[in-house]
Amino acid sequence: MGGDPRLTLQAVHRFGLGLRPGDLQKIGADVRDLFRAEVDRKVMAPLSGLPFASINEAAPALREFAERERMAREARGATRTAAITANSMGGTMGGGMAQTAPTSTPPQQPPPAVPPGTGQAAARPQAAEPPLPQRVYREEARARFHAMLEPLGGYTERLVAFWGNHFAVSVNKGNPVRTFAGLLEREAIRPHVYGRFADMLLAVETHPAMIVFLDNHQSLGPNSRAGNRRGRGLNENLAREILELHTLGVAGGYSQADVTALARLITGWTLVAPNAADGIPGTFRFNPNMHEPGSHQVLGKTYADAGNGFTVAGPANAEPGFERGRAALTDIARHPATAQHIARKLTRHFVADDPPASMVARLAKVFRDSDGNLQAVSRAVLDSPEAWSAPSAKMRTPQEFLLAAARALGRKPDVGQILQPLNAMGQPMWQPGGPNGFPDTVAAWASPEGLKTRLDVAAAIARQTAAGIDPQDLISNVFGAAASNETRQAVLRAESRYQAVAIALMSPEFQRR
């Protein structure tokens, strides 16, 4: 190890996942090289212990689960006629995958994480095995968290988490999103984290998790064949959030008319129906019968009717109706407002709540000049002088904190020890309050109740781990020579190992980045 200890520590917190015992000795003289190498070599942590390799297995499994639930419900209904009204919601949940949300598991329920010794296990009678969506959710969360224990640096994982929050879905939506949220990250975000933004965008907006989360499987072109027949129509939810959150940003210069036009262009972006023969049920498909005919104009550009000879380069068997939606997304991904929006969010995430304009401008230029090459943009974040001169005014998010604590103590938490603290600290896994994801500012996380619950988590972790921890070693391992005298003293003067560990985890040096 070499270099300025404070700079090293700041960089590890700002761009990485936190130090484990022995990590400081492995970091070379220039900590920048550690993170640059990750980008240049596209280092990616492998995930293991996953319930499904891909959506192609998960979607049919969810369908079978929903079918079993439905039959069980009907069996109960036959014996208890009075119970039907309570379940009537299940029948009105609309077409496609939303029908698979069983009313026996309220989607609003927070994940019942049950760590040992908290008393929750006694309160809830434990089934032999949790229902499939909850089991998959827990296994995906565990795999994601455990993968983040592995890298020395971890910039790639931080970027994955950033994009996962940028393209946020919430498992509160119901069983399909609960089952697919981890897959969205693995299938649509990870593969493109150093690829093209437009590709990530398309992968996300066509992923069943996002399609269901923002209702697009239910959106019908009012003048489409299916729309004429069923008397249903447009749902503009996904189109609006694509423009407002995923690409241009709310001040990106679009209008209500653009939202509606984009919503029309992506009608038919839906899921294979439960009993369809033309694909794996529950996976993405373009359904031309749901697609709104006619030309539609988004941001001043006209996307002509698919039936009128509109051609876009695409796979030979591509549906023209789908290709014009894809073309619209590609154009929006290239829009200067998108570059600006992404540059601003990246800078705010890694550097400062009030992002330095010079850095935002530089990242936006790299984004534009490279046609949204995220490897170049991610490298430009590291190469920005602002990222190395700004004070550590950001605060670790609850997820970053929990992960850093596990790494600092050399601990591999079980799934309950992951999910419950995240829930307590206000950042439950894949469960933000809305499609805008979790907040990314100090003001949001450094709240009175937020700090109190963070201390509760630190105390719980300390109780479980303190016996084997030497406070002096802990300070050396996680701060090196960069600990302040005050923090060093507060840790070493603690009345017990338990207190020492909790104070170290809650110290400004550990919380800030």
Binding site: T92, Q108, P110, A444, I503
Partner: protein, 416 residues
Amino acid sequence: MSHDHHDADCETMTPSRRAVLGAAGALFAWSFVPKMAYATPGARDPRFVVVILRGAMDGLSAVPPLGDPDYRGLREGIALQKDGPDAALPLDGFFYLHPAMPNLARLYRANQATVVHAVATGYRQRSHFDGQDVLESGQDGPGMTRDGWLNRLLAGLPAGEGISRKGALGVGIVPPLVVRGNAPVVGWAPPVLPRAGDDLVMRLMDLYGQRDPVLAKAFAAGASIEKIINREGMAGQRARGGPDNAEGMRMIAEGAAKLVNADDGPRVAALAFEGWDTHANEGGATGVLAGRLRGLDSALEAFEAGLKDRWKDTVVMVVTEFGRTARVNGTVGTDHGTGTVAFLVGGAVRGGRIIADWPGLKPENLHERRDLKPTTDLRAVTKGVLTDLFGVSGPVLAEKVFPGTAGLAPIKGLVA
């Protein structure tokens, strides 16, 4: 398209153009009133709770205008009914209340609840997040999120005033923006984990005091309310559900009521309930929205029960960032709209009234031929409540709490 559903008393509440202009003149005179005018009128020790419904609550379903001839045609599949097993609850013969809200109906009949309809903030776009920022920041437009209007209200009260000294309660790990700012904020949320010990808290407070003023301030605010939490027997409780779940809403309201009821506790509070973004399968008398409304109704009952003797001095204000489309969308839900409802509930409310300059639901009467047209500015409602409840002066309201609203008169007579 005005009509006669409201009583004569309500008619004077409608902020007609003339009333707004008249009051603007009065505001000018108020700016010369000495600082004494800040003092809380009478002996009232008021309580004020802001409940934010995130996701844009459908005002046309919460308080359906069943007397409007165009309502039913717009709301195929989710329209509520005057009769039948799940009949909506009658309010004034024109407006009804969603059947999932029997407690609110009871409070309305007891003159302790007022409905403001066709109301909106000044925001006219359709982003939830900007809409919520405007609702909570009290600013003219989005992007000015340094602090919230409830916090600036406290900051605008004279120093030493009991209300401001005791701070505002912000419920949740991330407290609502409306309560954030320079004035002291105390925090609480239904806890998920056992709490850390006092000694650890003291040591950490000491460390933050030496090293990190931002964390020190937040941490001290969190610790200050522990005393009440312990006394009220809330320390051992555990969360029963989130803020988008009926059980969770009730638990949040129960806890907030205890803290706000305590003599040494905060006098004002802000909290948020979630899950109002009903794009698909919104439901009518039963269904998704009905479940949320049932949670809200239960929370209002919990406030009434928990505030006990203080209920007579309480206003609970329920607001949302905007409304939803008048017409049902293609997926038996509603998309982002504009005008909606707000509720004022509490013993201090001069209730049993609906305040609405009803714009009608014909296409030409809708905002952009799409949304319920807002005819009342929510800030005029809020300013009215703050004037009556806290005796806040017009200039403070127009310059500090809701900047740039000198031309917008507070609606008078909202508080009994």
